[in-house]
Structures are given as C-alpha cells and as structure tokens.
C-alpha cells in the first residue's frame, strides 16, 4: 500500500511571500501581513493534487532555527516534534543570500526540502536572477520559481513537489537516503568544538545548533553532551571576541557567497521607486503628517464610497419589507419580520460596505509594507508609554476586531508590555462600532462625516495612549525587550489575497448578522412589543428606569437601551437604535430624521464618544480573561471603560452644547 496523504511545511523568513503562496496552494482564507510577525499560530490547509492529498502547514516566518523568540520556537518545535513529510522552503529571490542562511540550517539537518523562490520578477528588475539549475545542483535539492500571485507558476512547483514526495517516500521505505546533509566548513575553532560535541554522540547538525543557539536548543541533551557543550562554549568565548553565533553565521554567509560569486548583492542598489517611497514616507518631517493624512483619507473614503452600496442594500431591505407587508396579513408574525428582523438586522446590514472598505484599506496598508514604516515613525511615542514596537500590529488590528488583535499580542515577550497592549486594545475602535459612527456622523456631521470618523478613531488612540502611560507608571517595570525590525520592501498588494481577505470579512460580518445581531434584534423586539396594549413596553420601562444615569449626557431612554444591548456585540447598538426610532419611520432616511428630531447634536456626539469608550463586548472580555489569565483585568477593563465613557460622554455633551 502506498502512502497517499502527505504533510508539507512552509518555512521561510518573514516577508518572503510565504503566506500568499500558502493561500494560493490551499485556497485558504487567511491574513497576509507584510510585516514581521503576523503569523503567530500554525495554519493548515489541504489540497488534492496528482492523486495525493497534500496538507500544507504555514509556519511563522523566522530568520533562524537557532534562536529563541516566540516565532522561532514555534517553528523549531514543530519541525522536531511532528516532522512533516516535506519542507517547502520559501525564499525571496531578490534577497537570496539572507534567505539562504535559513536554508543552510534546514539542509544541515538533512530535512527533505524543496526551494520555492518568490519575487523572481523583482530579482529580474535588479538584473540578478539566480541560476536555479546551478543552485539546485550545488545544494542537492530541487529549486523552482514560485509566485503567490500567479497560479501558472505554481503548477510546475506542485508537480515537482509530488514527484519529490513520492521518490522520497519510496527511497525511505527501501532505506536509501536521498537527502545528504549539507556540509559547511566553519572556522577551525568552531570545527574543533563541533568535533568535541560529536564525541558526545550528537549528530553534526545538533552540535552546530548547540553552539549557534548558545545552548538554547529544542531537543534534549544528555548530561554528557551538556557538559561538552558548556566547556566548548567557554573555550570559544576565551579564544574569540565574536560569539559562536556570529562565527557560525559568518560561515554560512561565506558558504552562500561561494555558491554564486558572480552576484554580489551588496553592490545592487535598492530600486529607485523603493528609495523614493522611503525618502517620502520615512522623511523626518513629512513622515508623520503623511501617516495621519492617509488615515484621514481612509476614513473619508470609507464613509463616502460606502454610501453607494449602502443605498442599494437599503433599497433591497425596504422592498423586502414592502413585499412582506403585501403578502402577510397584519399580525404579530408580520411585525416580528418587519419591525424586528428587517428593522434590526437590516439596520446593521446597510453598514456592511463601510466595514468592508475599512478592512480593505487596512489590508492594503499591511500588504504594501507601509505598516512597518508607520511603526517606525511612531516607535518613540509608543516606547514612552511603555509599549513595545511590536505592539503596533495588534493595535492596528484592533481597528478590525479586538479579539484577534488581543491574541496577536502573543508575539510580545515582555509580560508588562504585553499586558498594557491587551488592556488598551478595546480603545482601538473596532469595526463593530463603525455602524454607530456612520449612522450618527451621517446625521449630525453631514458635511464632514469622514473627518468625524477620523476624529473619533483618533480620540480612541489618544485615550489608549493615556491609559498605557498610566499603566506603565503603575505596573512594575521590566527589562526592555530588544526592538529590531526589518523594513520589508515595498510591494504591490496581491489582488487575490486582498479579495480573499475582504470576502473573509464579509462572511464574518454576515455570520454576526445572522447570529448575535439577529438574536439581539429579536430580544429587543420582544421587549419593545410586550406587554401589548400597555402604556409602556418593557423596553421603555427599563430605559426610563436607567435613563437618569445618562441624563447628564443628553441621552434619553432610547439611547440608554441601545447602549445596554451593545454589550452583546457593538453592532447591536445600531440595530436597537434603528428599531426604537423606526417605529414610525419607513426607511433609513426616515430613521435619520427621527433620530435628528429626538436627539440634540451634542448628545449625538456624546453617544459616539460613549460607544467608543465603554466596556468591551462579551467576546473581547472573554479573550482578555484568557490571555491575561485573570478575571481581575477583565473587570478592570469594564470598570475603567464605563467610567471613561461616562466622563468622556459628559465632556462631549457639555462642550458640544456650547458649540452647536
């Protein structure tokens, strides 16, 4: 019986195009970020090809197997504990020597490897296309061109992969080893140390990794080996200023340069467009203003362009409502559908285009490589409030949804910096709050709604930084984690990847609409309808009972119940507003008029501020609890959010009343 199911792990440096390739290979829908450290956990996807079932595993981007950061540990331990059948080593052809350093580590371990060289077009532009045949014969493994954006280039890659897999599998069963370990000759003292360790029964690659990782390795060492390693490292430290890591790395680079001496990358310049873009975006004086202008443009476009498709959705919903009203007799059942389902769910659905657009723009920022530049520009401010440079990605992800954003903080290793990043994340306004802003800004700030959206998001960032500053004073300081970040080259976003990403967000949104928003709307409808023929519905009774707390903010019972319902998920706020105000209104336009008639502009502003700041939704609280390991932090998050929201709302209402 021959094996039909194989596992292939994708290994490569950060920004090598690994995740795009993974998406293309599996058709999986998942994020690619052009910034170090977006893949934290391991993702899998399956594809049938050439009669085989291939399971691809996307491992975090790493620079070396001999390093002990989160990403490296995940990859290193995966390769050791569940060895895949084959490794697809993804490389950036335009930065080949740096990327081949990792390859030499894989090949020293004699892991069955296939090299997939991405960015061949970029290498061609630089006139340094690597000779794949030569590379393949020198390293003894297949090397093929690859491109995460082009399916045609992938076919030969898959053919080769299947052929190699079958051959390797056959050879393994006949006990012939097809993969010989790569043998790099290091500096003489390193070689001596390696020999010493080999005498302690370690294979050569393990001996090298022991020295390179300064003893911090993923595999078990017996007492003998442990002793040999300690003494070898000691002797090396006495003989050399350079660390063993540096000497071994120098050896790897020496070997790589020997492979293709005709190409000297150090003399190849960064392309003119790249350095032009960098000279503008990283400019000391222009950089930050440009960053804020692009954010403003994003919100402006989110509001403006979102309005057109929103009109179509609105038209569809109201046609549906008319249809139902025409088909069904006036009954409680019809009321559930028109006043509950269509008013509530439809009231949120119209904001789908805005949410999708925001995700689309953020994905472009990520994939183009701009995000890493923005992180560089803002690093000083971040470190002043106790945040690590790595906090930038989770914070920006918070604009989408706080739940994955908080999980992404796992890449931050210093516990205090991580805790601060988790606790301030809910102030990064997630896309669930967007419908409320779009609705209210469209009513009260008609002429500059985009600026209002930008302003409310900026307010969230400012509050987040203030809280971070307070927390960093309050929590005991810990030694700072080193911050070294590679700026990725500028890249055109892959349209396929963007489309997948956006489609994914649409699905997420619809999922929520059909789930928590539907349930929330129905619950609100029930509370609003019963008791029947009474003076006041349950909902109004509840609202009026709570309203005195919110009266200083200018809210009435309608806003009060809307905010209460938002605890489930923030989108429900918009749904509830739509339902309580839409009792007498025919469509969204009518809804806007009804809100405008019922709510002072200053109170509208206060409602936006309150929605921004008040407690995280249920899912976010659960993830705060899980990631911090204590309910205390989740409780603090609720409490501080409510206090800040009330004070912020009151300030907004008071100041707004003076201005409007």
């Amino acid at each position: 019986m021959t094996k039909k199911h194989f596992t292939i792990a994708l290994v490569g440096n950060p920004n090598c195009g690994k995740t795009s390739l993974f998406n293309l290979l599996t058709g999986a829908r998942q994020r690619t970020g052009n910034m170090a450290g977006v893949t934290v956990d391991i993702k899998q996807g399956t594809r049938e090809y050439g009669g085989l079932t291939l399971t691809f595993v996307d491992l975090p981007g790493i620079y070396s197997l001999s390093q002990n950061r989160v990403e490296e540990r995940v990859t290193r331990d995966y390769l050791l504990s569940t060895p895949p059948d084959f490794i697809l080593n993804v490389l950036d052809a335009s930065h080949l020597s740096r990327h081949l350093a990792l390859t030499t580590q894989l090949l020293e371990q004699s892991l069955p490897t296939l090299l997939a060289l991405n960015m061949m077009d970029e290498a061609a532009r630089l006139r340094q296309v690597p000779d794949l045949k030569e590379l393949s014969s020198q390293l003894g493994v297949p090397a093929l061109a690859s491109d995460g954006r082009n399916i045609n280039i992938i076919k030969p890659l898959l053919d080769q992969l299947v052929a190699s897999l079958l051959a390797h599998n056959q050879h393994q069963s006949s006990l012939i080893s097809t993969f010989h370990a790569l043998d790099i000759v290091y500096e003489p003292h390193i070689e001596q140390a390696v020999e010493q360790l080999q005498l302690a029964d370690l294979p050569r690659w393990k001996a090298i990794q022991c020295l390179e990782a300064q003893g911090d390795v993923g595999f078990q060492l017996n007492e003998n080996a442990q002793k040999a390693m300690t003494s070898a490292l000691q002797i090396l430290a006495q003989r050399h200023d350079e660390t063993a890591t540096e000497m071994i790395t120098a050896g790897r680079y020496g070997y790589i340069h020997g492979l293709f001496h005709e190409i000297d990358e150090n003399h190849v310049d960064i392309s003119r467009i790249d350095s032009w873009l960098d000279s503008i975006t990283l400019n000391r004086w222009l950089g930050l203003p440009l960053f804020f202008i692009s954010l403003w443009l994003i919100f402006e476009a989110t509001f403006t362009f979102g309005a057109y498709p929103a009109d179509w959705i609105e038209l569809g919903v109201s046609l549906l409502g008319d249809g139902v009203a025409w088909l069904l007799p006036d009954s409680l059942f019809r009321a559930v559908i028109t006043d509950g389902l269509l008013a509530g769910v439809g009231g949120v659905l119209v904001f789908l285009p805005n949410v999708v657009l925001l995700f689309f723009f953020i994905a472009i920022l990520e994939q183009s490589g701009y995000m890493a530049r923005a992180a560089f520009l803002t690093d000083r401010v971040m470190s002043k409030v106790g945040l690590h440079g790595k906090a930038f990605v989770p914070l920006v992800m918070g604009f989408g949804c706080n739940v994955p954003a908080i999980m992404a903080t796992r890449t931050i290793e210093e516990p205090r910096a991580r805790l601060i990043t988790i606790l301030i994340n809910p102030f990064m306004s997630c896309s669930a709050r967007l419908p409320v802003y779009v609705l209210l800004a469209g009513i009260f700030f008609k002429d500059n709604a985009g600026s209002a959206l930008f302003g409310i998001h900026m307010l969230g960032i400012m509050v987040a930084f203030m809280i971070a500053a307070l927390l960093s004073r309050w929590l005991p300081a810990q030694p700072n984690e080193i911050f070294i970040m590679e700026l990725p080259p500028w890249r055109w976003p892959s349209w396929r990847s963007l489309a997948l990403h956006v489609w994914d967000k649409v699905k997420d949104f619809l999922h929520k609409v059909g789930g928590v928003i539907l349930v929330g709307s129905l619950a609100v409808w029930v509370l609003q309808t019963f008791p029947m023929h009474a003076e006041m519905s349950f909902l109004e009774q509840l609202g009026r009972w709570m309203a005195p707390i919110f009266a200083p903010l200018g809210f009435q019972w309608q806003e009060t119940v809307a905010l209460l319902s938002g605890f489930l998920a923030k989108e429900v706020i918009a749904a509830t507003l739509a339902m309580v105000y839409q009792v007498n209104a025919e469509d969204i336009g009518g809804l806007q008029l009804a809100i405008q008639a019922g709510l002072a502009p200053a109170a509208g502003l206060a409602l936006m501020v309150f929605t921004l700041l008040y407690m995280p939704c249920l899912a976010t609280l659960a993830v705060i609890r899980r990631e911090t390991g204590s309910w205390r932090w989740a409780a603090l998050s609720i409490f501080s959010g409510l206090v800040l929201a009330w004070v912020g709302g009151w300030l907004a209402f008071t100041l707004g009343s003076l201005l409007f």
Binding site: Y63, S64, S66, Q67, N68, R69, S94, H95, S97, R98, A101, A213, Q214, D241, E242, T243, T245, E246, T249, A250, Y253, E265, N266, V268, D269, I270, D278, S279, L282, N283, R284, W285, G287, L288, A372, F376, L377, D379, R380, S383, G389, N480, I482, F483, I484, M485, E486, L487, P489
Partner: protein, 75 residues
C-alpha cells in the same frame, strides 16, 4: 565611533559588536556582522529609532541598541 552617531547617508564598516548574547544573536541572524558596511538611511521625528541599510536590507534600530555597534572612524 558608534553606529548611532552616523550622519544620514554616511556609510561605515562595522568593526565590533558588543551587548547581550541575545542581542548579538538577533543581529547575526539578520546578517549584521563584523566587516559589513552599514549606512544610516532614515531618522524618525524624534531622532530615535533610525533606519539603517545593509546591502538591500533596511533595518530599524533604537539608539539604545545602536551604541553597541562600533563602526570604523573613517571610510
């Protein structure tokens, strides 16, 4: 002189790297080793961190870390 005192556009050879083992390991895996030529290519609004160029790689370092890297006094 140390790396953080470079002027924008200036490039120098790295002569020595000090600092914690962890830090030196991180630099080595990025290919930042003795003998390499490094250039200061961009400075953030507050003068810290800075972006350095090594061949075609661009690496962002804080000044706190850059002082650990000694570069040649002249070309």
């Amino acid at each position: 002189m140390t790396l953080d005192s470079l002027v924008r556009g200036q490039s120098r050879k790295i002569v020595d790297i000090s600092g914690s083992g962890d830090f030196r390991q991180r630099l080595a895996t990025l290919g930042i080793l003795r003998g390499q030529v490094i250039q200061l290519s961009a400075v953030s609004p507050w003068g810290n961190p800075k972006v350095y160029r090594l061949g075609r790689q661009r690496i962002c370092l804080r000044n706190e870390e850059a002082v650990c890297i000694q570069v040649a006094d002249n070309d």
